[in-house]
């Protein structure tokens, strides 16, 4: 590193760094945003292609009676008061030659879920295993359909049973096929998967599985609620933003094209006019929807929980909208049969194609190598600022080499002044994480709110109370070396934020990117010398909670169901409660990350703003 160890060149470099720091930061930020938005521009994307050679060409034929089965299922479901008609399902599967087993599970939610109106959940999963006629029972595929109350998903279960009957007569199955009907959608799937893999990560109580079928290679989840559909929507986003292998999406798209079924992603149909403004906007909207859905970390279909166990899974939802061309259950059956046959041919788990990608449309994708640069440009701003601060902090020490003055050590008594805000911010974060759920009984006693509202409003209250902190921590500090103190704190906080955002982006790129877009500008430019009222307002408006609020509004705009401010606020509160529930029930990491790490980091910068 001759460049960095030669003192004169070093001085030139550091001088350049100090002078050009702000312009470079601004350029990097704009470049990052522009790069990200440019990812949706079609010439910058690649066409999707099948990477797995084992999924070669297969022949596909037809024949089911799915719809009558759907009506029978509906009737029995109503008889069972919208619960699961277990006996009928068991008989239906057994009569189709499957080995049928049931599993019961129960879970008490930490607080009532107002969206789905449940608190104490008890349910039963029913699954049948179609044993491969001539193969050893080492691998399996799963086709699942959730049993939902009311009119939804009857056709999915009917199709499942019809497929089971058709599959039973074929001899080419090399893997066992498990047909799963799960109750209470995600909770049933979670109970089944935990029992299948002998783990218990979420504290659910379930009865052990009586029958098993080897390691699961891939899974498909079906959601069909009407007899005729006009398009099939593919849902890929899973828990914690994990995505299945791109080959699964490619497979689905290839089959849809072959059978002439319209397929959509994010509910949007593909357009061919990429060189017009509308075409670009359409692709950008699809990509933004995927980013928002991935960032919120919840599983948008039953398939999302399979991904955690390294099982590639996707959900297929049938949509009935106003189009001329309608598809019936038979074609969907052929589509599914084709997909399952292709998955049957797999020699090993899908791994050839990308695991990290963004889809502006079903036939075009952006891989991690392209989109990570946008994030990298944003994090570079934090590192440049940190380097700049380090140079400024070290400058008085370097000057002392010539004169006989006392050298300033960044570590030493300065560590204590930095430690206090860090510890207090993290304690507030821990309070934000633990207290809402634990204090709900006390809150319900004293205030006229329901438990869910108590939890959410406690969270909001603790978040707002954290804003009052700097005025308290300043009294605890002795206030020595104040100019030095805030610089050291800012340096620590910038590095901490950079490492945090980096780790987040590796696991869930969308979450990391969205947080970076709002947090990087305020944190990089925050000093105590800025006008207090204005910067405080800007900081609060770009804080993590408001980021979530903006995401809610943008999401509603993108799915073409815009909401008013009050509705948006209620939606925001329900998003918070869903986040806490997802963490408790399925192990989603978004709420702990925001409460325990991002919020304390933001509080440290809030502290710097009010440094006296």
């Amino acid at each position: 590193m001759g460049l960095l160890s030669d003192p004169s060149r070093r001085k030139v470099l550091t001088g350049l760094l100090t002078r050009l720091n702000t312009p470079i930061c601004i350029v990097c930020y704009l470049a990052g945003i522009v790069w990200f938005m440019g990812l949706a521009f079609e010439p910058f994307t690649l066409r999707t292609y099948m990477s797995e050679n084992a999924m070669g060409s297969t022949m596909v034929s037809s024949g089911e009676r799915a719809l009558s089965l759907a009506k029978e299922f509906d009737a029995h479901k109503r008889q069972a008061y919208d619960g699961m008609p277990v006996e009928w399902l068991v008989k239906a599967m057994q009569s189709r030659g499957l080995e049928v087993f049931t599993q019961s599970f129960s879970r008490k939610l930490p607080f009532p879920d107002e969206n789905k109106e449940r608190y104490m959940v008890r349910g039963t999963n029913v699954y049948g295993i179609l044993r491969a006629p001539r193969a050893p029972r080492t691998e399996a595929l799963v086709i699942s359909a959730p049993c939902s109350p009311g009119d939804s998903n009857n056709q999915a279960v009917g199709l499942l049973l019809a497929l089971a009957q058709y599959f039973r007569n074929q001899v080419y199955w090399a893997k066992d096929i498990i047909f799963l009907v799960n109750e209470h959608d995600l909770m049933g799937t979670q109970a089944w998967l935990e029992a299948y893999h002998h783990t218990n990560i979420t504290g659910m109580e379930y009865s052990p599985l009586q029958g098993r079928a080897g390691s699961i290679q891939a899974a498909l989840s079906l959601e069909l609620s009407s007899d005729v559909i006009t398009s099939l929507d593919l849902i890929l986003e899973g828990l914690n933003g994990q995505l299945p292998n791109l080959d699964l999406a490619n497979l689905f798209y290839a089959f849809c094209q072959k059978l002439g079924v319209l397929c959509t992603i994010q509910g949007k149909l593909q357009r061919n006019d990429w060189d017009t403004a509308e075409g670009y906007t359409h692709a950008a909207q699809t990509m933004m929807l995927m980013v928002l859905k991935q960032a919120c970390g919840r599983s948008w279909g039953d398939h999302g929980l399979f991904l955690r166990y390294h099982i590639e899974a996707a959900s297929v939802r049938g949509i009935n909208s106003f189009r001329h061309y309608k598809t019936d259950a038979a074609t969907i059956g052929r589509l599914l049969e084709g997909m399952v046959r292709k998955l049957n041919n797999l020699l090993e788990r899908l791994h050839q194609s990308y695991f990290f990608y963004l889809l502006p449309s079903l036939s075009r994708f952006v891989s991690i190598g392209c989109y990570m640069l946008a994030f990298g440009l944003l994090v570079v701003i934090l590192l440049l600022r940190a380097l700049d601060l380090w140079v400024h902090l070290g400058a008085p020490a370097l000057a002392a080499v010539e004169g006989v003055t006392e050298a300033q050590q960044p570590s030493g008594p300065g560590v204590l002044t930095v430690l206090t805000p860090v510890v207090i911010s993290h304690l507030t974060g821990v309070a934000l994480y633990l207290l809402p759920v634990h204090l709900q009984e006390m809150a319900v006693e004293h205030f006229p709110v329901s438990e869910t509202e108590a939890v959410v409003l406690t969270a909001v209250a603790i978040y707002t109370a954290g804003l009052a902190l700097p005025h308290n921590t300043q009294r605890l500090l002795s206030g020595e070396g104040t100019e030095q103190g805030w610089k050291v704190l800012k340096l620590t906080a910038l590095l901490y934020l950079a490492v945090l955002l980096g780790c987040t982006a590796l696991i869930n790129f969308s979450l990391g990117f969205i947080l970076a877009v709002t947090l990087v500008p305020i944190t990089a430019s925050m000093t105590p010398h800025m006008p207090k009222a204005l910067s405080a307002l800007v900081m609060v408006l770009l804080s993590p909670a408001f980021t979530v609020l903006y995401c809610v509004f943008i999401y509603q705009e993108l799915i073409e169901a815009p909401v008013s401010v009050s509705e948006g606020w209620m939606l925001f509160l329900s998003v918070i409660s869903q986040g806490i529930l997802d963490h408790a029930l399925y192990g989603s990491l978004v709420y702990p990350l925001l409460a325990l790490f991002i919020y304390p980091c933001w509080l440290m910068f809030w502290n710097i703003l009010f440094w006296s």
């Binding site: 590193m1 960095l4 160890s5 070093r10 994990q242 991904l307 955690r308 390294h310 788990r349 791994h351 695991f355 990290f356 590192l383 940190a386 380097l387 380090w390 070290g394 020490a397 370097l398 002392a400 080499v401 006989v404 003055t405 050298a407 050590q409 570590s411 590095l495 950079a498 490492v499 945090l500 980096g502 780790c503 590796l506 696991i507």
Partner: protein, 409 residues
């Protein structure tokens, strides 16, 4: 200085006790960065179970600790957590006392050199005053006890803590000038894992310097003392090995412990450099590369001893650092031991030019280890290359920081 040290010990013990009782303890004791096949607690328990059944603990190739360890834990296995916390305390106190002695020596030498006017004028601000150096031993103890690496290692009940304690006691005895105890403790440390063998040279250089014996191969006084020290060391080693034989009644432990360390049969990923390389190795090159990698650890002793013979304590620090980077199964506990020494030279920090970049790299890598492990093993989206990239970067950061620190001399 007893009061701040006691306070520090209490705080450290509290943190460890809290973590022992939480649900994190299970998680931490399975992390590959914190435990290795050589010092995992699971394996100690397995060896104890085999011993209770009357079978040799080394059968089954699970247990790779020395017989002294088994017998120690045979008696204290019920109080294992307390033992590890006490061990950390012993290491911290030993480091505290050693650095205190070292500072006294340095200050005395500085006084003599100042009186005989040996310092040029522009070095004057590098001189240290007793006031500045007063807090350094406490900082060293703090750097060891409150280092997250040490805490993780203690909570995982990795026997690396015990090895660190023996090395710290060896350093204390060396600095206090007791050749006998130093030789015995060095033999014990070598018996535990072979690599502290390289610490023989710096200890010898320290004693020679202390006894004013010039390091001249033609002088008989040099050879006389060297032979004495070597005799103590080798003799203790022979006695300890013999005792181990009598403890278990067989020589099984030699291939299981030392053969394991040298031939690296277990390729579980860790923060070292061996596992990935040997996972891809063809069989007929394996012996050659084992020799190359193992010689790498021992080889740096010779040039470093020649260059740093005036600064034996610094040489001990460099040797420990080199051992913990290049040994066959490193863990973060090994890294924590040499990191604890850094405050001893804090007055020279301004000369560390690229320390910011290097420490950012080390910090980022420590944070990325669990992330990439998760992506590889659980999410299946990454593979071993990603994890090894972080390992390489971490070791590169360590080597670079050693490089920078070596500019101190």
């Amino acid at each position: 200085m007893a009061a701040p040290l006691t306070l520090l010990l209490i705080v450290a013990v509290t943190i460890r006790a809290v973590l022992f009782r939480s649900s994190w303890a299970e998680l931490i004791s399975e992390r590959v960065e914190v435990v290795s096949p050589l010092n995992a607690w699971k394996r100690v328990v397995e060896g104890l179970a085999l011993l209770d059944l009357g079978v040799s603990p080394y059968s089954g190739d699970v247990f790779h600790e020395t017989p002294f360890m088994i017998y120690l834990f045979h008696f204290v296995v019920d109080y294992a957590e307390i033992v590890f916390m006490v061990t950390d305390g012993i290491t911290a106190v030993a480091l505290y006392l050693s650095i205190q002695t070292y500072n006294k020596n340095v200050f005395r030498k500085q006084k003599y050199a100042l009186e005989s006017d040996r310092y040029p004028a522009d070095c004057l601000e590098l001189l240290r005053s007793p006031k500045e150096m007063f807090y350094i031993p406490l900082k060293v103890a703090m750097f060891y006890l409150l280092n997250p690496f040490t805490i993780l290692s203690c909570v995982a009940k990795s026997t690396c803590g015990l090895n660190n304690a023996i090395i710290a006691l060896f350093i204390l005895c060396t600095l206090k000038g007791s050749a006998l105890l130093s030789g015995i403790l060095l033999a014990l440390a070598t018996y535990q894992s072979i690599y502290p063998l390289t610490l023989f040279a710096p200890a010898l250089l320290f004693f020679l310097q202390r006894l004013y014996i010039p390091v001249n191969l033609r002088r008989s006084s040099f050879w006389f003392f060297t032979l004495q020290y070597a005799f103590i060391y080798v003799g203790s080693l022979v006695v300890i090995t013999g005792l181990s034989f009598f403890l278990l009644g067989s020589w099984d432990f030699i291939p299981s412990v030392y053969g394991f360390i040298f031939s690296v049969p277990d390729l579980t990923p860790n923060i070292g450099l061996f596992w990935y390389f040997f996972a891809e190795m063809f069989e007929h090159f394996r012996l050659f590369f084992i020799c190359v990698f193992q010689i790498n650890v021992f080889f740096y002793t010779i040039p470093l001893s020649i260059k740093l013979k005036e600064h034996p304590v610094f040489l001990i620090f460099m040797q420990i650092a080199i051992i913990s980077i290049f040994k066959s199964y490193p863990t973060v506990g090994d890294v924590a031991l040499y990191m604890a020494f850094l405050p001893a030279w804090s007055h020279l920090y301004r000369f560390l030019r690229n320390i910011f970049l290097v420490s950012c790299v080390l910090l980022a890598c420590s944070a990325l280890f669990p992330v990439l492990w998760h992506l590889w093993i659980y999410a299946g989206s990454a593979n071993s290359n990603f994890y090894y990239a972080i390992t390489l970067l971490f070791n590169f950061g360590q080597v670079k920081s050693l490089n920078l620190i070596s500019h101190f001399t």
